[in-house]
């Protein structure tokens, strides 16, 4: 049986996994709890890419993966896909969002007002090194505004539409139960609008930034102006079998709407929304969406190009698969290579007299 002795097979993979997990140590509820409480932005990012809003599970996935984001997203996706779809929630409307932060770069002030909300945008990025010397960093308390901003804000695009400034494609009426579901159907092109938005919502943040940034730098034709960026909480309203509509809870959502003047002479909008608060992702996604119309095949702002290549589970999985043995295919290429060397040189074309 010497034939197989050189390969470890089952034992090798078991021990390799143990070695990895030994480094992470015991995972308990306290660790998961700490991760959830202390890393909300990371939890949000993972929930968005997993398209599963469950902070405890997201924290568990991060703990189990030791912080490897792609592993964490895969863990959540593989769990999510086994769960039944119990109900389809009512559409979330912009002016019903419980808005924490809402800014527009298009106007100095907008109906409803600019609301900065929580942000590090204007913070000085200085490491609080004192923390490592035993002096904890305690954030200064927030002074509440004398008059709180209203919880709900109108949509800026609605104002622009009322003034005839925005290209306003007719909405496609779809019954809630018939909304195409990317997790149950393949993505084909030209993509259904619902598939595009779902695909953007669960795209890889880093991948989306890379392609979105390429469009912003000039590989896309449209320069985005942030029409409206929102961080909000959305009520998940579902219908009880008895018919009553009730709130099943709130989820954090972020959305960006970017705009530029289109060929029609009207403003065109690009849109992206995702579960959790993730500003870089929605601005990049909306920029890609804005540039997608009429994009050349194979350009980074073509829908097929950016949606396929920002799918985190597919992209990361394929990347790491190159670690798998490929010696059968390599052997096949070697054979062709040696065959070409051994073959007589291709015959020279006959000299045709001038």
């Amino acid at each position: 049986m010497a034939y197989v002795a050189t390969r470890g097979g089952e034992r090798a993979i078991a021990q390799s996994e143990r070695l990895y997990r030994a480094e992470l140590g015991q995972i308990d509820a306290a660790r998961v709890d700490t991760l959830r409480k202390t890393l909300p932005m990371l939890i949000d990012r993972v929930m968005g890419e997993a398209s599963l809003y469950e902070p405890d599970l997201a924290a568990l996935a991060l703990a189990q993966a030791g912080g490897d984001l792609y592993e964490a997203v895969l863990l959540l996706r593989a769990w999510r896909t086994t769960q039944p779809r119990l109900s389809i929630a009512e559409p979330v409307l912009q002016d019903r969002l419980f808005t924490h932060r809402r800014i527009s770069a298009a106007f100095k002030d907008i109906p409803g007002g600019q609301i900065l909300g929580p942000s590090l945008d204007y913070a000085h990025r200085l490491l609080a090194t004192d923390v490592l010397r035993g002096r904890p960093f305690t954030p200064a308390p927030v002074d509440p505004a004398p008059t709180p901003a209203p919880a709900c804000q109108p949509s800026l695009a609605a104002w622009q539409k009322a003034h005839g400034l925005v290209a306003d494609p007719a909405p496609v009426e779809v019954a809630p139960d018939d909304i195409p579901d990317l997790t149950r159907e393949p993505l084909l092109f030209p993509a259904k609008r619902a598939h595009t938005l779902q695909s953007l919502a669960r795209a890889d943040t880093g991948g989306m930034l890379a392609l979105g940034y390429s469009a912003m730098r000039g590989y896309g034709s449209a320069h985005p102006t942030v029409n409206e960026l929102r961080l909000a909480e959305a009520e998940v309203r579902v219908r009880h079998p008895r018919g009553t509509v009730f709130s099943a809870g709130r989820v954090k959502v972020s959305q960006a709407e970017v705009t530029s003047k289109g060929k029609s002479g009207l403003l065109e909008l690009g849109f992206c929304a995702t579960l959790g608060w993730n500003e870089v992702k929605v601005i990049s996604g909306a920029t890609l969406d804005l540039n997608a119309r009429g994009a050349a095949k194979g350009s980074p702002v073509e829908e097929e190009f950016f949606l396929y290549h920002t799918e985190p589970v597919e992209a990361s999985g394929f990347c790491i698969h190159f670690k798998l043995p490929h010696y059968v295919t390599f052997q096949s290429s070697l054979d062709a290579l040696r065959g070409a060397k051994a073959a007589p040189a291709p015959t020279k074309p006959e000299q045709v007299p001038a």
Binding site: Y3, I13, F318, L324, Q331, A336, R338
Partner: protein, 304 residues
């Protein structure tokens, strides 16, 4: 009557991991794939507890076909004990209760990456090939929606052109593994990255083959007794790897696809790529009663 009598007891996962709605979609797409040989069928491709690119497409087909009485063999590069094959095989048996086997003869279901076993498959066996890239037109047309239109039009001219250009440049066709083949005289498919050695095994085979790409969300099939013809010019015969005369340094067997193992002395030795065939040959040489089935290749040649 209570609700409890009408429902199944709670279980963490469905039988065979995939839930009923996923399996239903798989069955429909698999039947469709059989009905139009070689034509890529898009499917939802659920996430499974393995990374994309690691056999998730093959896995979904296998999980749909598995039953407790199945006997499943999984190989990677021809080897049953390759790490990923071992991982997939143990997952399959864990979620289905199916028996695991290394023996090609004993298997009812074979999931494979990059190889078709050397022993002939029978009509009662199903082969599932893992596919990284299902699109034979990818080298000439990376855009999937354009490529789909080209398949609809049987527009394969550019594929012939690259084969021709290889001949002009290198004096021979330079395709390695994943050699494109015309199925049922209609659709060009990539047979997955199996070596050229294995492609003729699919032609008019007794068994059913599924090819499934989980990441790219496409599956296709070669039903039994279907023509599978590698793309070749009428005056340039199809060339399999020149392995017919190589000898396995472990089992002494000749006439099959080999792995080349570079040696310290600058040379190479060869070993059978179909590792279970190698094990059986060694055990037989040691005097054990081992059944080796008829092989596709005889004396290093594929009978016409």
């Amino acid at each position: 009557m209570t609700l409890a009598t009408l429902t199944k007891p709670w279980a963490a996962f469905s039988y065979g991991f995939l839930d009923a709605s996923a399996k239903r979609e798989m069955r429909r797409k698999m039947l469709k794939a059989i009905a139009v040989p070689g034509c890529q069928m898009p499917y939802a491709s659920r996430e499974v507890p393995m990374a994309r690119g690691w056999g998730t497409g093959g896995l979904q087909v296998t999980l749909t076909l598995l039953k407790p009485s199945s006997s499943v063999k999984v190989i990677d590069q021809g080897a049953d004990d390759s790490v990923n094959a071992a991982s997939i095989r143990s997952f399959l048996s864990k979620v289905s209760g199916a028996a695991e086997t290394w023996d090609t003869q004993a298997a009812t279901l074979i999931q494979s990456r990059h190889r078709i076993p050397e022993e002939r498959l029978r009509a009662d066996q199903v082969l599932v090939l893992q596919v990284p890239n299902p699109e034979p037109l990818r080298p000439v047309e990376p855009n999937m929606s354009v490529a789909r239109q080209m398949h609809a039009d049987a527009d394969y001219g550019r594929l012939w052109l690259i084969l021709y250009e290889q001949m002009v440049r290198s004096g021979r066709i330079m395709e390695g593994a994943a050699y494109p083949a015309l199925v049922n005289r209609r659709h060009v498919m990539t047979p997955s990255p199996i070596p050229r050695w294995d492609v003729p095994k699919l032609h008019m085979a007794e068994h059913l083959t599924f090819l499934s790409a989980g990441r790219e969300k496409r599956l296709y099939a070669v039903p039994p007794f279907t023509q599978v013809e590698p793309l070749v010019f009428s005056d340039v015969p199809y060339q399999v790897e020149d392995h017919g005369a190589l000898r396995c340094h472990r089992s002494g067997v000749t006439g099959y696809y080999m792995n080349e193992i570079p040696q310290d002395n600058g040379g190479s030795v060869f070993e059978l790529s179909d590792s279970n065939l190698g094990i059986k040959a060694i055990r037989r040489a040691e005097g054990a009663q081992v059944e080796i089935g008829p092989t596709w290749y005889e004396n290093g040649k594929m009978p016409q």
